[in-house]
């Protein structure tokens, strides 16, 4: 098994406005895969398509070498899933929800579940309906982790949680991954949150997987270059041009490029452009430029 999740030619349509066309998604086994995209880009829909909760028009999905949806139960036994919104039965207490969950997962680790319960400071006898948002989020993570899955699918697991809870939740996930080497597929629109933990990123925009690559490659040599007298045509660049926009206050232009290396200055000097500045960019800025690029269809 080289890929924990594999989608080939996935097609889906909802109404007239949203569609996923021919998506190919590969989540390497053992990776922490950050699934990035702005709100409404189709992250949750993709996950539901993968897990066989939403019916696709066509395409093949393989989860941990099990085909979806025919062989879903076998796959789901090894998948811990935390949806974006609370999905647990609200009338059960925390302890009851744990017992319920345990009955369905043969790999359930009761000892660890108890420990997580203490770490997360969850009141075991309180009904889920009366838990705070943070507590519910922690319980969802607890259930998904204590079943000791091979693949964790987390859909915006920290959305709307306070920083303390967020930290606890992510630490628990990483602790588990460090222990078992499980694959994590984590979706978020909060880029910086994923930045430190992911080793793969997939960027989704309006139902289209814009890019999918290791994060080192994604971030490698990404710079903002402020130019005066930028060339009209950006042909034969040694780097990858993500976007170019005129500067607001001067007559220069601002280019965002990837794969930059200092000797590439020559490219501009040869074309009579003057480099005013070269600035490092973080993942979030790369992400934003990436989306701008994909939407405007700037020449590469």
């Amino acid at each position: 098994m080289s890929n924990a999740i594999e989608a080939r030619g996935l097609n889906y349509r909802a109404g007239k406005t949203f569609e996923i066309r021919d998506m190919n998604l590969n989540v390497p086994a053992g990776s922490i895969y950050g699934y990035l995209g702005p709100n409404g880009s189709g992250k949750t829909t993709t996950i539901r398509l993968l897990l066989g909760m939403t019916k696709r028009i066509s395409g093949d999905v393989t989860l941990l070498d099990h085909r979806s949806p025919d062989d879903l139960p076998a796959a789901l036994a090894k998948i811990g899933y935390v949806p974006e919104r609370p999905h647990l039965y609200p009338t059960l207490t925390v302890a009851e929800a744990m017992r319920f969950h345990a009955a369905f997962y043969p790999t359930w680790d009761a000892q660890w579940a108890t420990r997580l319960l203490r770490v997360f400071e969850l009141p075991h006898d309180r009904r889920i309906a009366r838990l705070s948002k943070g507590e519910t989020g922690k319980l969802m993570i607890l259930l998904a982790l204590a079943q000791r899955p091979e693949l964790l699918i987390l859909d915006e697991p920290t959305d709307g949680l306070d920083p303390m809870v967020r930290r606890d939740v992510l630490a628990a996930v990483i602790d588990y991954v460090g222990d078992t080497g499980a694959t994590v597929f984590i979706s978020s629109h909060l880029v910086h949150e994923l930045e430190r933990m992911c080793d793969w990123v997939g960027v989704l925009d309006k139902g289209r997987l814009v890019t999918e690559m290791p994060i080192t490659q994604f971030k490698a040599g990404v710079k903002r270059i402020r130019l005066i007298g930028a060339p009209e045509q950006a042909l034969g660049t040694p780097f990858e041009l993500l976007s170019r926009v005129p500067e607001a206050l001067s007559d220069g232009e601002s280019w965002v490029v990837r794969g930059w290396d200092d000797p590439m200055r020559e490219y501009f000097e040869a074309r009579g452009a003057k480099i005013r500045d070269i600035v490092d960019l973080d993942l979030e800025e790369v992400f934003v430029e990436m989306l701008r690029n994909s939407r405007q269809g700037v020449t590469r």
Partner: protein
Amino acid sequence: MFDDIDPRSPVPLYEQIAARVRVAVVAGEYTPGAALPSVRQLAASLRVNPATVVQAYRDLEREGFVEMRHGAGTFVQNVAPGLREAERMKQARELVRRMLAEAARLGIGVAELSRALAVESGVGE
């Protein structure tokens, strides 16, 4: 010690972690034989990918700063004096390089900079 790890920095996370350890070792913060935090522990507390920590430790091992004993953990090596000096110099030059880059952006010349350095360090003492 790892508090100022910055995922937004263009410097890769594993490099940042390795650098912190190197500094600690050469500064004598870690004495030879001391145990580094386990991969799992450090990854969870930093909320970084465990693979990142592993890579940092591997780099450190290759450079001779630490030793990874299978199943037991990662321990600080007795660093050769030459290596220690070289590392200190490397850190110093890195600092200066960063200062120069920032100064260049602000249009500050080297002369001004060295004057400022003298003033600042004089005041500092």
